[in-house]
Each structure stands twice: as C-alpha cells, then as structure tokens.
Symmetry: C2
Subunit: 502 residues, 2 copies
C-alpha cells in the first residue's frame, strides 16, 4: 500500500481532482475562445489540441493508481467526513463505469459519437434523416449494451436515466409527464381560443451595443460578482466555468428581438450563480458546481422564468430596458412588458419554446428514447413517431426533420436518458418557489422593488453552497420533503390563467 | 533500441513536437484569453492551470526517452533530409541545455524568476530599485553559472548571446553599436536644432469603434489572411500564434492618439505575417514560425517603420485613416501624415521610442548587461550607470528608476543577452530593403499605390517560408551575403535628412 495514512490518500485524490480541473480549464478556455473570438479557420487545430488534452484526461481517469486510491478510500469510508465521502463516491461512480465497460468498446463508442456528430450536422442541414439513421442505430445498440454493463438487473432505460440523475426511473417519469400532460394540454387549448398577447414592441430595432450594456446591468442586478464573470457572444448561448473566480456566460444578440438576449442572459446567469456559489473549499474538486443537470436547469429556469417572467419583476426589468432603449419602450407599462415576455404558442423548436409548452417538447423525446431502448421503436420510424407526437401533444405539424427529430445534438453524442432532466428542472424550480415563498414572505415585494437578494440568498443557502454534495433526490427531500410535480402544474395554471384571463 | 527504423524514429520525434505544440496551444489560449477578456479575478486560477501545463511540458522535454530519440537521430544525421536535420538540431540544443544544467539549479532558477517578476512589478510601481536589487544579483549570478554550463570555453556573455542568436558575440555587437552610435548621435543632435515635426492632428479625438474597423482594414492591406487571425485589445500589445491557421495580434487603443494603435497593428501584423508564412508542412513542428527574435523584429519593424513610416506608403495609409476619420484628417496631406508619423525625439521609454533613437535604448541595456556579466559593474550601481548612459547617448535626464532601469521586465525573467536582438532586427530590415529594392525595382511605386503584395511576396519567399529552418546568420548570408550595419545607418541618415531637411 503506497499511502499508509488516510490523510495522504485523500490528498492524493485531491491532487487528481486538481489535475482534472486544470485540464478541464484548458479545454474549457479553448472551447470558449473557439465559440466567441477565434479565427474562422482555427477549428481543425483546436480539435487536434482538444483531442490530445482529452487523451491526457482519459489516461488519468483510467490510471490503475487512481483506482487503487479510490477503492482503498471507499473501503475506509468510516474514517472520512461527509464531504470526503461524497468526493470518493462521485469519482468511484466514474471508476466503476470505466471498469464495467470494456476499454475497446469505450474507444469505439467515442469514435462513433465523434463521427456521428459530424454526420448529424450534415443531416440536419440537409434535413436528411436517412443519413443519420445508421449512426443512431449504432448509438442505440451501444447504449443498450452500456445499460447492461452498468446494471444488468435494471431495465435498460432506467440504468441510463440513473447515470444522469441518480435514482431516476421510468415509473417516476411516466407519472411526472402524465400529470404534466393532463395539466398543460388543456391550458394550451384554452389559450388557443383567446386573443394572443402582444409582444410587437419588443421586436422593433434594438442596437446591439446598447443591448450589451443592458445585459451587464441585468447580470449585476442578478447579484453576479462581475469581477469573476464575463459575457461572450456566440451562435448558441451556453455557460461554462473553470473555477469559482472564472465563469463565462454567453448570449446571442438579435437586433429585431430584444427578449431573446434578455432571457438568455437571465437563464445562463442562473447557471452561473449556481456554479459560482459553491463553498470556496470545494474549488478544484468534484464537489464544486452543480452535480445534476436537473438541479442546474432548476436554477437557470428559476431566474429566467419564475423570477424573470414574473409579474413582480416586470417593473424593474422594464426600467432597466427603458434606460437603454427609452424610445422603443415609450408608453410601455410593466403589465404590457410582462405579457409580452410570456406569450405562449406551441412551436417546433425546443430551445425556442415558451415556459408553458417547453416540457411537452421534452416529453416527446422521452417517449421516443424509452421506446428505442425498450426495443418497441425502430430507428427508421423515429421521424414518423416524432411528428405524430408533436401533433398530439403540441398540435403542430412538423414540416421537415430539420425542424423535427434532427433539431437537437444530444443523440448524436450518445446521450439517451439526458433529456428528462430539462423538464424535471422546471418542476423542481416551481416546488422550490413554494418553499421560498413561505421562508421569505416578502420576497415578491422585494423582487417588485428590483431587489433579488432574498431570492439569490435563499437559493444560495439551500442549494448553491452545497455544489455536488447532495444528489438531486436528497436535495429535494431536504428542501421540499420529496418531489411533487403538482406544484409545477399549479404554478403554470395560476400564471397562465391570469395572463390569458382564462 | 526501441525504434529500429529511422522513419519510425523521426515519426516519434514529430509526435513529441505535436504534443509540445498542443500544450503550447492550450497555454497560449489561456494567456491570450487572460490578457483580452477573462474576468478580473481569474488570474490566480489561470496561474495554477498554467503551472500544471508547464509541468507537463517540462516532464516531456526532460523525458529520457526523448533524449534517446534525439541523440540516436543526431548520430544518424546523414540519413536525414535538411529539414529533419534542422528539427533534430533545434530539439537537441534544448536537450543539451537540460543535460548541462543540474536539475535542482534549473528548478531553483525558475522559482527565483517567478518571484523576481512579482518583486520587479512592485519595485517598478514604487520606483524602488533597492527592492529588486537582491533578485537581480541572484539572476546575474545564475546567468554567469549558466554561461559556464553552456560553454566554459566562451566568454560568459558570449555564451548567453549565443543562446538567443546563434553565433552572436560581443565583438560583432561592439562593432555594430559603435557604428550605430557614431551614425545616429550626430543625426539626433542635428535634428534637435531644427523645428520639430507636427503631429498634433493625430492627437485630437478618435473614437475607438472606428479605430477598430480601421485596424482590420490595415491588416487586410498588409495581406493577412483574415480567416486565420484576429485582433484583440490589451494593455501591452503582443502577438501570439498557435498554428498556421490560428494567429492573434493585439493592440491598445488611445482615443487621443491614433498613431499608437496604427503602428502597433503594423508592427504586430509583421510578426503575424512571419509566423503564418511557414511552409504548411512545418505546422506542429519546431520549424514552424520564426526561430530568432532578431529576424522576428526585422519583420515587425519592416512593416511598422520601413514600409509603414515610408513616404510612399503615407498616401495609402492616410486614405485608410481618412475613410474612418474624415473630419479629423480634413486638409491633411500625405506629406504631413508622413512627417507626423516620423517625429523623432529622444525619450525615456524604449517601447515608446521612435525609429531613430530606438537602437540607443537597446545599446544602454547591452552595455550594462555586458558589464554585469563581465563583473565590471555591480548590481547596486546599475541605476547610476543607466542614467549616465541615457544622458550620454540620448541626452535625457532620467527622473526616477521607474522610467529608468526598472522599465523593462526582461531582467526579472532571467533573460540577459536578449535585448541586442531588438536592435539587430532593425538593422537586418534595412539591409533586406536594399536587396528588395534591387529585386523588385518598382516596389515603391506599388507601395505608393497601396499594393504591399510585392513586399510581402519577397519577404515570404526569402524569409517567412523557411520558418526556423535557417539560423539568423545563415539567412543573412543567403539573402545579403552577410550582415553589414552600414545599410541601417545609411537608411536612417537618408530618411531623417529628408524629413528634417538637414
């Protein structure tokens, strides 16, 4: 035994986490730079360097010495504190996975996904599902095998779900989506019979330099530490962070649609606040930043929708917008602004969907993944099923696969079982709100005054500060006494009933 | 022997070069990002990650397997082509150095320089040389030891010079600087008796967004491939490149001084054209990009001064400026613009010096380094000597060490012997020009028409394309039949005689 002392062993594990964080930092900056400023022709060179760094990282995660370290610590769990135990648990989950999957299959799969990503792009551009189908077939086959490697006792799709969200099962999701559908579909139908909300005044002309300044003020209002975060411009907005003092959010400015950037900044800013809120001593460890995508989405959507699109915050938000666009917002009231921000309309593209219909987009993907992994749907029949479900849930006709089953990149990356997190996040957020309203009775008053500190403070103390210490289920139990999607349905019903005077 | 076949051995060496290039790429992007956009508080985290990547790179360069590879190839040189031979030679130079310096001394020195850099910054800010002196003493001591390790047969300062510029000696430099001084000092005196040139119209108000657009047009005019390069904004401009398709130049915009950015872009653009001009097959090898700083400076100063500040190019350059600042340049003629760009005035700061007096700044540093390493000057006496030489060569009184011997970072980084390259570069450029004028008789006509392609074409074919294949001395022999500083003196005399009507 190389490390006699448990303290030395933990230090060695911390050292491994630091090295992993350093490589991730380098790759993250390369990617951020690539998306924001790098020269047009730099992609190939960047891919080569990223490939080499991935190889370094992979070698580290498959180093027998690491395995020895982790399993020896796992065997002495009783001597570790809660945080150390959790570090070991998280790293061990990855080690277990590496142990269970034969190396050559893992490498083959990585190569397959890399190729599939390129093919998917072309298939999407040309709206040609047949081009992508053979790759998706192989990916589904691998994911089935993967599920069996992870846990042969579990139903395959449950094993995949569990990989992204510990303990999540089809039973939970069927109940969740079932309730959602029952709750949301009638709302959508009722709205379709009402006059549509007016958002035309948000679609005039909004010069980008002023939108940029406005976005920074929104970030400040959210409570982000502006010495530790920057706002970049990209095609498809995302958030990335390298350590607690270096976070990046991105946005895309549309001159003729000012809400797009505004809510993008609130959304990505929500991810950033979560990332940057971990206990300082978690920096450079696996405990830093959010663990599960569902909780991450619960935070980003909290700022984007629950606060950002609330009636209370419409006033302060309009005042910020008016400061940068006084002419464009002449005569606009907070009520008008609130309504414009909440226009609901079933549409084709998930990433552009409104708060009400968003979960139905996710539901379509969930149903299809479940059938693909369960063996009741063949890849070739995906487009037909997709289009049928969109008609059924959202009432829209899908004109082509580009705007249909080829719109998202996730499947080409091999990630089946990941989509449900998005919908769960929204539902978690509504349930958090119900507790927050009890804990901070004057929260909406403060929000209406433009003060988000009670909101951010509550989220910080209950969620952000813990980083990855707790699993999503544990967090939900601690904060809300368990997950209950009814809060989400009630939240949506109340909000849209008022908005559309149903 | 691990690699029987010489082709496999060379391939292994190429693989090593690729890995080094990938690490350099990652570190380069981290640095560029840090200087241009990163959040204010991100420096510590970046330093940690850079430290880890340096460690990886250092491990690679000191890997016994690399040494075996390099020395085995060096023993079979006859079987290699010219380019392979040069690769081996360049890498072997580093390996030799690593072999000659005891590891623990190397590590101590790295740590010393890292500390010295921080102390130098503070000393500069507070203009307190005594704070920095103990570090400079240790650095001088180490550099003396280093010189003895490199080549105990050589005079110590010669050994250091040779490290930065193969074959460069004090004899060459004494003759070079002697001639320069004799040629330039009388010119400066003559100018001081003449009325000063007027540059006031370049110091009105020039909004930065328009300067930014103008800079991109200048870059295009230089012939830079705009799909492979970007322009960033920083405090102190620099150039960095990661591969042939990803180059970055930087600038600093002053609203009240438009020439500063303009010539900064021409200077850094010159570095970039050189970097990006290597044969494509050199990419990811040590042959890619310029080898010695003297040749690099010869290119940057060629675009900045020889072309950028030429009478012929004043017309086209003014037209570009006028396009973005029509009001500011109303009534300005090409002649006026040319004169404004060439105002010569002895000053205190090297990096802000004009073309005429620049070399004298370098000469002061050369004299001091020579004495420090030669043991005829003690560190404590550096400020006094510095101030005396500035008075003697440039006729200026140094008010404090911040604007005197503490102005440059080089010594704190351990680099004694590096400064002379800057002055050599300018002189090389003037000699290149004499040949270019013969090879391309209508070059000035073309330049006056705004067409730099004959200039860039000549530099590309004679210099850029070879990357690091030739040493500076070899290049000078091939192109000019040997180095002769008289061309530089003649160039300056002719130019300033005309400018100031001497």
């Amino acid at each position: 035994m190389k490390y006699e002392n448990i303290k030395d062993t933990m230090n060695a594990l911390r050292e491994f986490q630091f090295k992993q964080a350093a490589i991730r930092h380098a790759m993250g900056v390369l990617e951020y730079d690539g998306e924001t400023v790098a020269p047009k022709d730099s992609a190939d060179g960047r891919a080569r360097t990223m490939g080499y760094l991935s190889e370094l990282s992979y070698k580290m995660t498959t180093d027998p010495e690491l395995f020895e370290l982790v399993y020896s610590l796992d065997g002495r769990k009783d001597e570790l504190d809660t945080e150390e135990k959790r570090m070991v648990e998280i790293i061990k989950k990855d080690c277990d996975l590496m142990t269970k999957i034969p190396m050559e299959e893992y490498v083959q799969f990585s190569e397959l996904c890399s190729k599939a990503g390129n093919v998917w792009k072309e298939a999407k551009n040309t709206s040609d599902f047949a081009l992508f189908a053979p790759y998706l077939e192989k990916i589904v086959e691998f994911d089935k095998k993967l599920a069996a490697y992870i846990n042969p006792e579990m139903k395959p799709y449950n094993a995949l779900l569990d990989m992204y969200e510990d303990g999540l099962t089809m039973d939970t999701l069927d109940a969740f989506f079932g309730k959602l559908r029952t709750g949301i579909v009638p709302l959508i139908e009722a709205i379709s019979k009402k006059p549509q909300l007016d958002d035309s005044f948000t679609k005039t002309n909004f010069p980008i330099p002023a939108q940029r300044e406005m976005s920074l003020e929104v970030m400040k209002t959210m409570g982000l530490n502006m010495d530790r975060i920057i706002l970049g411009e990209v095609e498809h907005p995302f958030t990335t962070g390298f350590n607690l003092c270096d976070e990046r959010i991105t946005t895309h400015f549309h001159e003729d649609d000012m809400l797009s950037n505004l809510f993008s900044v609130l959304h990505e800013g929500g991810h950033a606040i979560y990332d940057m809120g971990s206990k300082p001593e978690y920096d450079y460890t696996v405990l830093c930043g959010g663990y599960a995508m569902s909780i991450h989405e619960s935070q980003s959507r909290f700022y984007e929708n629950i606060i950002g699109r609330s009636k209370a915050f419409a006033g302060p938000l309009l005042e910020i917008c008016r400061k940068y666009f006084p002419l464009q917002f002449e005569g606009v009231t907070a009520e008008m602004f609130w309504k414009a921000a909440n226009k609901a309309q079933p549409s084709l593209i998930r990433t552009e969907a409104d708060e009400l219909t968003y979960s139905l987009h996710v539901m379509v993907r969930y149903e299809i993944e479940k059938m693909l992994i369960g063996g009741t749907l063949q890849v070739k029949d995906v487009p037909e099923t997709w289009n049928r479900l969109y008609k059924e849930y959202l009432g829209v006709d899908v004109p082509d696969d580009r705007q249909g089953c080829l719109q998202d990149s996730h499947w080409s990356g091999g990630s089946l079982g990941y989509f449900p997190s998005y919908a769960l996040g929204s539902a978690y957020g509504a349930q958090f709100l119900s507790i927050m309203e009890k804990d901070v009775p004057d929260m909406w008053e403060k929000v209406a005054g433009g003060d988000l500190s009670p909101v951010t403070g509550w989220l910080h103390d209950k969620i952000h500060v813990y980083g990855s210490l707790y699993k999503p289920g544990e967090l939900m139990d601690q904060i809300c006494g368990g997950f209950d999607p009814q809060y989400y349905i009630d939240y949506l019903t109340k909000k849209y009933t008022e908005l559309y005077e149903l």
